[in-house]
Symmetry: C2
Subunit: 457 residues, 2 copies
């Protein structure tokens, strides 16, 4: 056994894994998800799950999409059932450029696009191409749990940069860059989700976009802009992407998971040609090529179906669910609870009253038939215990209201329990929806915590 | 620029890649495929391509498959268009166990199966889970080019083990194991393709299967059994898999690419539970989950279509093409040319008369409108210049005959040219179909040559 060398790794059944001494170093950092068991509980029908990030795919015109895909196989089986190019179908890459134009990216060429198996694979490819073990990645605190999993697998170190209601804080970014420079740490890139952040629900403001792109120039910083939710705004036109402001320092990740279907697993990377070339080699080694059928399905969908109207329809549906969430939270949450006010996307980020721990509270919440994702999964450094992510994308408004009601009761019970032991300080809480900074983790830490890895289930 | 540190890497346009100094170490080993350009030539209709490994998917009942898939979307869109489990659809994993039973694997449980994006991803996941940079992988010489690409990306060192008409030579394997032990090299696993080898076209004999499994026990060796072609034999029932003989030391990779459709990208790994757990974490970090639609498509296909008969039909079709290949080779090849006699799968491995170089000859072959894959792509050590792989899976028998005719003429012209300069020694050639050992590379080398990376296009 390798306990001595890897003190943090306690194999569940060390004697049952005769290969335990043969794994790669990176494998020892992978932890079995503690909440995988919990999630099988969560999928019971009596539980209202505010945990998953599953899109409302049944709002699609399933008959039309079904016959469209059936025809693709019957009529073009020689292509749709065959191997394709590693970079992805050229026609789809053209249509992807049309989609990106909606966010102001008008100079992208299909040759700079690599189709991926979801944007998750895009993230993995970019990380593999750039990161050696020990390299530093800057990322918002909190960050998308799936990104932290990729960074951990690459044995990169994550340094969180604070954000607030206007997204990533440029001053905090500059401070982090200076710190890293002073320490001799090699920053490979900034990973950021500028729109309707997962899990924070906030959006990077226009002036901050300019400030961050300027910092990238000043500090020779590469930015990975991960943007699956950009077209799902409730109130206004999509904002201009970071990539639209700088095409040399920004690599852009896109996805059809939230605007069409996640079950097709079609995403993409837009990168300068030299990087694109590396990404193609990396994806060929990983999967040979993305599935042809799903790529043809997306391209045909964009060609023949009213996809812009469908996105509006999705946004309308998510807006209702967001409203149900925010109204119930405002009506029911005990004082001292604060949360963000998303105007797009899937998520609300909630901070518990002082002293409460979302992870410890979780079993009681599940007992009360409501589920969420504890905040610590979104930090690489063990921070975030007082936070949770609530997803409103999947349940109907009535279920959401019921879920929030149950959650409020659990929090109240928790508070009662606490006040029995010590007085809770409610004076220092931040105003609802206006936390000064969502978190300010400033230490650089090792492999990410992957406890809540299945948050999207 | 990093020329000093990486003498073998010559960026095509060094000054056009401002990020060149930011890549990971593994990325510098990735080479732009030299024959990518050639392959666009090869796809011209006047060229007979014996280069690609594309299955004959149009032999499928496309209408039936199309309406089956269309119904899956229309009727089950809530599942087929949604995220699924990282490990893969449980129902598909059950059916995969039925498929493996055809090769004598009767003790596999669906819980030990991980569905992957083609077996290529399975190979990548296994390699990531086990290999640190510098680790040694044993692999047949020659080996599947896509596997060498994975091993290179993992910065593993490949040591080739000689094979002959009966597949991998157990004595050569034992010698390699002893050598590595003596050198203090860490052997992480043996990678082997026991059935209808790509590119060698040979099959591991029954006694050798026993011998290799015994060696695995004796030397504590892990075996990765990669078996996409096992059900595509022309003359007899499938042979018993290595995994059927040992379930602790063999990790099995399977694929529906050759028995159904590569465009769906559905493969799998069968591994002991502890390893399976690591593989699931690794695939979640890489792609979250495999596409749901393609998994449902394969499961439904296995449930409702005559898939065993379809495999027989494929095998019949490939047998005709194999016959056309072998008959033309026997009739037309100049003396001194030798080749293997596949009784299943897609490939013939051909050795040129002494002094000829398949890679150097390639442009002339393409000029004569015939294409193949030069042998060096299948070696990690630069060996194999005198070999080429001929694929008979895709062209019709008449095209194959025409292609071999053109190839024979090119070889003859090459021989003429040579004999003008020096006498060609034809005395030492091995008998047709009975090379003593296909190759005997015994040095351990670094990153694989990925020149012929797109061999399957
Ligand atoms: C911020 C972010 N990036 C990437 C992904 C991965 O999405 P996909 O791989 O389905 O495109 C998600 C999914 O929830 C996400 O929230
Ligand atoms: C030996 C071998 N392994 C693996 C693969 C990858 O196949 P897939 O990823 O399509 O399952 C191939 C494809 O040609 C192969 O020949």
């Amino acid at each position: 056994m390798t306990h001595g060398a890897h003190p943090h790794v306690v194999p569940r059944h060390p004697r049952l894994d005769p290969l335990a001494d043969r794994y790669a170093a990176r494998t020892h950092g992978m932890k079995t998800s503690e909440i995988r068991a919990l999630f099988s509980v969560v999928s019971r029908p009596e539980v209202v799950s505010l945990a998953g990030g599953m899109p409302a795919v049944t709002a699609l015109p399933l008959d039309a999409v079904g016959s469209m895909i059936g025809d693709l196989v019957s009529g073009m089986g020689a292509q749709t059932l065959q191997y394709g190019s590693g970079q992805g179908d050229p026609r789809l890459r053209e249509r992807i450029c049309d989609v990106m134009a909606l966010e102001g990216i008008t100079d992208a060429s299909p040759s700079e696009v690599v189709v991926t198996v979801g944007s998750q694979q895009g993230l993995d490819l970019v990380t593999r191409v750039f990161c050696d073990p020990g390299d530093v990645i800057l990322a918002e605190g909190p960050s998308y749990v799936g990104a932290l999993g990729v960074f951990q697998a690459a044995q990169a170190r994550v340094r969180h940069v604070a954000m607030d209601d206007d997204g990533l804080i440029p001053e905090a970014l500059e401070e982090a860059l200076l710190d890293c420079r002073a320490n001799g740490d090699r920053v490979k890139f900034l990973y950021t989700v500028p729109n309707f952040h997962n899990p924070a629900g906030v959006t990077l403001s226009e002036p901050r976009r300019e400030a961050i792109v300027a910092l990238a120039e000043k500090y020779d910083l590469l930015i990975i802009e991960d943007n699956p939710y950009g077209l799902l705004g409730f109130d206004r036109e999509p904002m201009r992407a970071l990539r639209a402001r700088n095409n040399r320092r920004v690599i852009y990740l896109g996805s059809f998971s939230k605007t069409f279907s996640p079950g097709l697993r079609v995403g993409w990377v837009l990168a300068p040609l030299a990087v694109r070339e590396k990404l193609v080699l990396a994806t060929e080694a990983q999967v040979l090529c993305p599935p042809s059928l799903t790529q043809y399905a997306v391209a045909r969908y964009l060609d023949t179906q009213p996809w812009r109207e469908q996105i509006k329809l999705f946004a309308e549906l998510y807006r209702e669910r967001r409203d149900a969430t925010l109204e119930s939270l405002a009506a029911l949450m005990p004082p001292g609870t604060v949360w963000t006010q998303p105007d797009g996307g899937f998520y609300v980020w909630l901070k518990l009253p002082h002293g409460l721990d979302a992870k410890l509270m979780q079993p009681r919440a599940v007992n009360a038939h409501v589920a969420y994702v504890p905040g610590i999964g979104f930090f690489a450094d063990g921070n975030g215990r007082e936070y949770m992510r609530l997803s409103y994308c999947y349940p109907e408004p009535d279920q959401i209201r019921e879920g929030v009601r149950r959650l409020a009761r659990v929090i109240e019970a928790e508070l009662d329990l606490h006040s029995t032991f010590d007085a809770v300080d409610t004076g220092s809480f931040r105003a609802i929806g206006r936390p000064d900074a969502l978190d300010s983790g400033t230490t650089i830490v090792g492999p990410a915590n992957s406890d809540t890895y299945e948050d999207r289930r």
